[in-house]
Symmetry: C2
Subunit: 241 residues, 2 copies
């Protein structure tokens, strides 16, 4: 499984240009400014994910980034825009991570084995601490930032869902699955796999019950295998529904 834990914190780069990209080009590409902005983004990302929107003050962000608060305001118009950019960046990273999960399914030869492998990776990706924090944060602030929550949902789990639905359609056309409604089948697959663990994780409970690391890994595998077994029993080529 992927070990790129930092992929979620990278969003480092020049600030978005607003019109006057020609005349201010030099200052925008100033290495000092780029470094400063990256430090703010990194600090804000970890603080927002950990403490939420209201729980994070601009003083905290400035302190962690080792810049003055005025410097934060020189790079971001206000707290709302900073938050939106940060979460959008994390969601974009999560989206890239998610896409890699669904490419392998469609070409499956031994479907059960491939589905089990994909499911084992999928549940571990979704249960990564950063992803769980992102979900919690979007849920917490869905009232304050409804567009952000909707865009992130459509961008990450929504795209994964349609990718799974497309893969199922392809598998059905090859006679490997019996799918009447691909979108519904993708929902069923996703929540057979993720529902219980995600629900527990969102409420701060351990998503899996194992004590040791090995027990937890085994439990994750069992969840994935059971989900695939139930899915194939219902949607497999030889199934009755």
């Amino acid at each position: 499984m992927a070990s790129d834990d930092e992929v979620l914190l990278v969003r480092v780069g020049p600030p978005p240009q607003r019109g006057e990209s020609r005349t201010r080009r030099d200052s925008a590409n100033d290495p000092r400014r780029i470094r400063t902005r990256a430090a703010i983004v990194e600090a804000a990302t970890s603080l927002f994910l950990e403490k939420g929107y209201r729980g994070t003050s601009l003083d905290d962000i400035a302190a962690l980034a080792a810049v003055s608060k005025r410097t934060v305001y020189n790079n971001f118009a206000d707290k709302d825009r900073l938050f939106t950019e940060i979460i959008g960046g994390v969601a974009a990273s999560a989206e890239a991570l998610a896409q890699s999960l669904t490419t392998t399914i469609a070409g499956a030869a031994d479907l059960p084995a491939v589905l089990r492998e994909a499911a084992r990776g999928h549940i571990r990706a979704v249960l990564r601490p950063q992803i769980l924090q992102l979900r919690r944060l979007l849920i917490s602030e869905a009232n304050r930032f409804p567009d952000l929550a909707r865009d992130c949902y459509l961008g990450v789990p929504g795209r994964v869902m349609t990718a799974i639905a497309d893969a199922f359609t392809s598998l059905a056309s090859r006679g490997l699955l019996r799918i009447a409604d691909p979108a519904r089948a993708a929902e069923h697959y996703s929540f057979l796999l993720l529902g219980a663990a995600l629900d527990r994780a969102m409420l701060g409970l351990d998503p899996v019950s194992g004590a040791s690391e090995a027990e937890r890994e085994g439990e994750l595998d069992r969840i994935a295998d059971d989900a695939v077994a139930t899915f194939l029993a219902a949607y497999g080529a030889q199934a009755s529904a």
Copy 2:
């Protein structure tokens, strides 16, 4: 289906006695004190559910309850305890609501029809605005109130899950289901039914896509029926898994 929307706001009654229940018995049962406390509980419940913990000030609560802020502190030690009592009361009401959903399944004669009916009621109960707000609130404050979140989870969805598992065990012993792991089967049933709609609702999206009321009701029925069909295809007596 139940139309008792106010069942979640009732928790009206004398304050919990702390030791000295004899000497202060009169003042604790004072009708004025009971009425005042009920007003505070009602105001705090609606504000906490709507605006969250940090978004609700004690001034707001006092104003809505038409009492002074000092009166709130005369009834509740601090904001944390007020919040904990409020949420515990809402969860207790939700628990009572949930229990009624699972009693009918076990004695099923026509299992598919009974499951469909139970599922249609179940998803509507979970998607009630107050229940969704409670879930959102517990997720948002799971870091600040970990014990509360855990207790509410074990008390409401956890008990529903075990009740479903027990019903499945009974149905399996009568040859109507093929269940190897009742707890897992209950998870699969629950999240086939609720997963997608709950996930969308948590992020502020419409859980169902219909525009008119009738379309939304039809979509809810379809979600329930599809979940039951998939579940029975996998776990029904004539299924292969």
